[in-house]
């Protein structure tokens, strides 16, 4: 629609990089973050007190980007704001692929000098067609290329999730929380003041990027609403977009004279737009990661009939409530399933009606395999979910070593064979550490889990919503 893909490709797949203005006061955070970069990283610093430290870290330092004897694809700028226009001018002159400006103190200060400097940089970059990210931003996180903006971020293993963040903090937290949940990033941008490249530009790019299979966003507001609408509508036809909107409260009193205008509050219209385009609205960082995790690890489906396996009757009831609240059906199984189950299912203190309470069947793990197979074959079940609460499984483990790993093997084998959506709920109760361990062990076998039934049901609902949208429903 409008972006120059080749320019974006160069910036988002950099082979060479430079950091301008990193210093001790920042703990050399930028150079440390870029230590994982797959390619040469040059430093540009004029302060004689900083240079020895930088060189001691193993970086070659230059007084100007113009002196660097290499083509540079990606530059991180962290200089005082009064030098920012000069540095930008040199980057343009050098023909670098693009630059992210961590430097702040521009229009966000709402004071004259900051605004003037920002306008000056905007004009320079626009005129030169220069790829300026920010200013006042954390910039790019491209784990596959080792580009990071904090040493806490992972590197090397990229994922298929693109991310656009209007807040440096939320972008960083997304990368960290997502990383812990197997929601790994292809390309992430924290866009700051977005004086040249804005939300629709990045969205258009990630929308056509073959390494990006789905997109998460944290947005507070967009400047070119119509273009955002057009781009979002287009991208959602190809890949799911999950959007967390910050600042959802009403924009206060406006002078309106029609009924319609008084009801069309900022957030209502926003959420309508998101749904109209086929994107998925979420309301927190956790929900954003949950929904992307579901899209990433659960098989695509429009199926709404759940087969639920819980470890106890009480949890079976809680699971049904949560899934029913998200408009899923937990109906009776087919007659042949009941017939088969009745032959081996121990009903004392348990139940093989859907939801299946498998408590008294836990000791014999081969029974669990048979139950999963029956649910897999049952034509009245579209998707299968299992509850695994560590506080209960602990008791099993104490009766015999290896119970839990045997159980995980069974679920993983099922996951490999099943064509139906499959996911787990791992309720921590009092064992949060053990629950995280269980979550990680499941994820290592490709099984996504969520810590409450409500979060499981919500993640799967969003997946169904998107697939219904794709199917034209």
């Amino acid at each position: 629609m409008g972006i120059d893909v080749a320019k974006f490709d160069r910036l988002f797949n950099p082979k060479t990089a430079a950091v301008i203005g990193d210093k001790q006061a920042l703990g050399y955070s930028w150079l440390n973050s870029m230590s994982t970069f797959k390619g040469p990283v040059y430093s540009v610093q004029i302060d004689e007190r900083e240079i020895p430290n930088i060189e001691a870290m193993g970086y070659q330092n230059f007084k100007s980007i113009l002196d660097v004897p290499d083509d540079i694809d990606f530059v991180i700028v962290s200089v005082p704001r009064k030098f920012a226009p000069m540095v930008l001018q040199q980057c343009i002159e050098k023909g670098v692929g693009g630059a992210t400006f961590f430097t702040s103190g521009f229009a966000e200060t709402a004071e004259e000098e900051g605004i003037a400097l920002q306008n000056q940089m905007q004009e320079m970059a626009r005129e030169a067609g220069f790829m300026l990210v920010g200013p006042n931003c954390m910039g790019l996180f491209i784990p596959g290329r080792g580009v990071r903006f904090t040493p806490q971020q992972y590197a090397g293993e990229a994922g298929p999730v693109g991310f656009i963040g209007q807040s440096g903090t939320q972008s960083m937290y997304f990368s960290l929380l997502g990383g812990a949940h197997g929601v790994k990033v292809s390309k992430l941008v924290s866009l700051g003041n977005a004086i040249v490249l804005d939300v629709p530009d990045y969205l258009e790019y990630l929308g056509q990027d073959p390494e990006t299979k789905m997109i998460g966003m944290y947005v507070e507001g967009v400047k070119d609403g119509r273009r955002f609408f057009d781009v979002l509508k287009d991208v959602c036809k190809r890949k799911p977009v999950v959007i967390w909107k910050g600042g959802q409260t009403s924009d206060g009193a406006r002078a309106v004279s029609s009924h319609t205008a008084s009801l069309a509050t900022e957030y209502t219209v926003w959420e309508s737009l998101v749904r109209q385009c086929g994107a998925l609205p979420v309301h927190s960082l956790e929900e954003l990661v949950d929904v992307l995790k579901g899209l990433l690890y659960i098989a695509p489906s429009t199926g709404e009939r759940m087969g639920i396996m819980a470890l106890t009757g009480g949890q079976a009831v809680a699971a049904v409530d949560a899934f029913a609240k998200q408009d899923f059906t937990i109906g009776p199984l087919s007659d042949s399933s009941y017939e088969e189950l009745s032959q081996f299912f121990s009903v004392i203190g348990a139940s093989y009606r859907n939801p299946l309470d498998i408590s008294s069947n836990l000791p014999d793990q081969t029974v669990l395999v048979r139950i999963l197979d029956i649910l897999e074959r049952d034509p009245t079940v579209d998707a299968i979910t299992t509850e695994l609460t560590t506080s209960l499984l602990d008791r099993r483990e104490s009766m015999g070593e290896g119970y839990v790993s045997g159980l995980i093997d069974i679920l993983a084998n099922h996951r490999e064979r099943t064509k139906k959506p499959y996911f787990c709920t791992v309720c921590p109760v009092d064992q949060e550490v053990a629950a995280i361990d269980m979550r990680d062990r499941l994820l290592a076998r490709g099984i996504p889990s969520f810590p409450t039934f409500h979060r499981s049901a919500n993640a799967y609902r969003k997946l169904v919503t998107y697939n219904k949208f794709l199917s034209g429903e």
Partner: protein, 234 residues
Amino acid sequence: MTQSQTLHEARSQGRTFLNEVESKQVLRDAGIDTTQATLAASRDQAIEQARAIGFPVVLKVISPDVVHKSDIGGVKLGLKDEAETAAAYDDIVASINANQPGANIEGVSVQGMARPGTEVIIGMSKDAQFGPVLMFGLGGIMVEILKDVAFRIVPLTKRDARSMIREIKGFPVLEGYRGQEPADIEKLEDTLLKLSEFVQQHDEIKEIDLNPIFAYRDGLTAVDARIILEEQAG
């Protein structure tokens, strides 16, 4: 006069809205069903027009200064004959003069009584970021108190029109809840699409209310309509 001429004329007069008679005419030209209203500038004209339309009729004040007509006695319903029409005309003028002294009364609109149906509201407003937005909801308390409405950004696709009607919580009412007359949902979809198209062609329109619309088993009619125009620069 065509839609564009009516809009152009109102703007050239520096007005920021169309009166009910003009609004309905413009919308009818756009293919949207409304009750037909005519402007009567005097009591005699009102009686004459009422006779031509056939009783019972409705009179509503036409004044650039009155926004909420019914709140200050500007609407009279179910007028059965000439005498009632004449009295209603005088009542309206007296009531407006008493409640809003100095309001410029151009006359009244005269229209037939529409058969009551399921009350629906359709409207348009402009979002600062996304431009024109259409709204759909059920009329009365559903919209006033429960705010049970759905929005879509213009232009609407068929799928948008379809889904926004089904999105409201009160949708079963439109399907004919408990033996009530169902609403013509296809016609509602069509009305939304026509309004979307109309809005796209007219940047100069700021807000529209079709409130209420009476929806029937077959067809619908907008009983009241208001079009507000953008302020003109300079």
